[in-house]
């Protein structure tokens, strides 16, 4: 019993949930390593930045930023904009990552798109400590990314088979995550619209912003649209909010309870 609460058990329990990330990160990491090397940077740079920045999209942008004129303010602004979606991850995981002690810093530091998605949707089996399981997911994912960058930087030139389209693995992963969230929120056709307002707001709000603002500038507008829409929809989506409204309108209920 004692052993079941250890890290070994946690790693064993969560590994299979991280396999999709393994595939995606190793491939993208290799691409990143190759890109950095062919851009003329030292071999250690992709590996160190993969470990410390650990935001794929930002790292790919960094390749171009480092090659252009020195402008730290612009680099900082880019990092904030690219990282803005982490704000949503933080808000969603506030409860999950409560009371985790010093581990919490590492968990927050390594919240990538993929780690967030896995942590948020994976049921941790009974008998496994939640904090250790989340740590295991976060650590494995980070190591996949670093390993990819390392492989790319060292052996990138040796890859000979056609990898065109392999990056679709990430798209497929997020489609599956969206599907599992969809199924969890209900599969009844009759209440489809009401059960899946959040997903639909996310999909169509983002599509709208993509069309309006284009592929390079749509994330922040999409986040604003999602935030505003979900705020306005709170009376429909939040049962607690409905109860509070009800109490305020009918104060005698409160007196009865007292």
């Amino acid at each position: 019993m004692e052993q079941k609460h250890g890290y070994a058990a946690a790693f064993k329990a969560v590994f299979r949930y991280t396999i999709p990330v393994l595939a995606g990160y190793v491939f993208l990491g290799i691409t990143y390593g190759i890109l950095m090397r062919t851009s003329g940077y030292p071999a250690w740079l992709p590996v160190v930045t993969a470990l410390i920045i650990y935001t794929g999209s930002m790292e790919f942008l960094l390749v171009g930023i480092l090659a252009s004129a020195f402008n730290p303010a612009a680099a900082f602004a880019t990092a904030i904009m690219v990282g803005a979606r982490h704000l949503f991850y933080g808000i969603s995981l506030l409860g999950t990552y409560r009371d985790m002690g010093p581990k919490k810093f590492y968990l927050i530091y390594t919240t990538s798109d993929e780690t967030f998605s896995i942590v948020y949707t994976t049921p941790i089996p009974d008998g496994i400590d939640k904090d250790k399981a989340y740590l295991a997911i976060s650590f494995l994912d980070q190591m996949y990314w670093v390993a990819g960058a390392l492989i790319g930087t060292l052996f990138g030139g040796l890859i000979t088979f056609d990898t065109t389209g392999l990056d679709f693995v990430m798209t497929a992963m997020f489609v599956v995550i969206l599907l599992s969230q969809w199924v969890e929120d209900g599969t009844a056709l009759k209440t489809m619209l009401k059960d899946h307002i959040s997903e639909l707001v996310g999909i169509f709000g983002s599509l709208l912003c993509l069309i309006v603002f284009g592929p390079d500038h749509f994330i922040i507008p999409a986040m604003i649209v999602i935030f505003v829409a979900l705020t306005l929809l709170r009376p429909v989506l939040d049962p607690e909010f409905q109860q509070n409204q009800h109490k305020q309108k009918t104060p005698q209920v409160k007196e009865d309870n007292a």
């Binding site: 969603s92 497929a172 959040s198």
Partner: protein
């Protein structure tokens, strides 16, 4: 850029990224109750973000030029079909990705 300037740039990028990751936890620390509105957001944001991430992955797909997004559409169809059939993560991802690679390498 000189090596020093590159180090500064990387440091600044790290600072910006870390800021976005830690900010929610700094604003709503443990020990203080999380406002009801934020708890509500925590529940409804994630499903919406998954939608955003899918759109983000597909952001460079052009409906009007090239392959018109047809390989993406077919492959996502395969992912959905495999998920509906067997659930789980690995099979739908593997099937969808292999399908996509075959389509972009051999057909389109």
């Amino acid at each position: 850029m000189t090596a020093t300037q590159q180090c500064i740039t990387i440091a600044v990028v790290i600072a910006g990224t870390v800021l976005t990751r830690f900010l929610p936890y700094v604003l709503f620390p443990e020990g203080r109750a999380i406002p009801k509105f934020v708890t509500y957001l925590g529940k409804v944001l994630a499903p919406a973000v998954f939608g955003l991430l899918v759109v983000y992955c597909l952001r460079h797909v052009s409906v009007f030029t090239g392959s018109h997004g047809i390989p993406e559409l077919i492959s996502i169809g395969v992912v959905i079909a495999l998920y509906a059939w067997k659930r789980g993560m690995v099979l739908p991802m593997l099937g969808g990705t292999v399908c996509y690679m075959l389509l972009v390498q051999l057909v389109f």
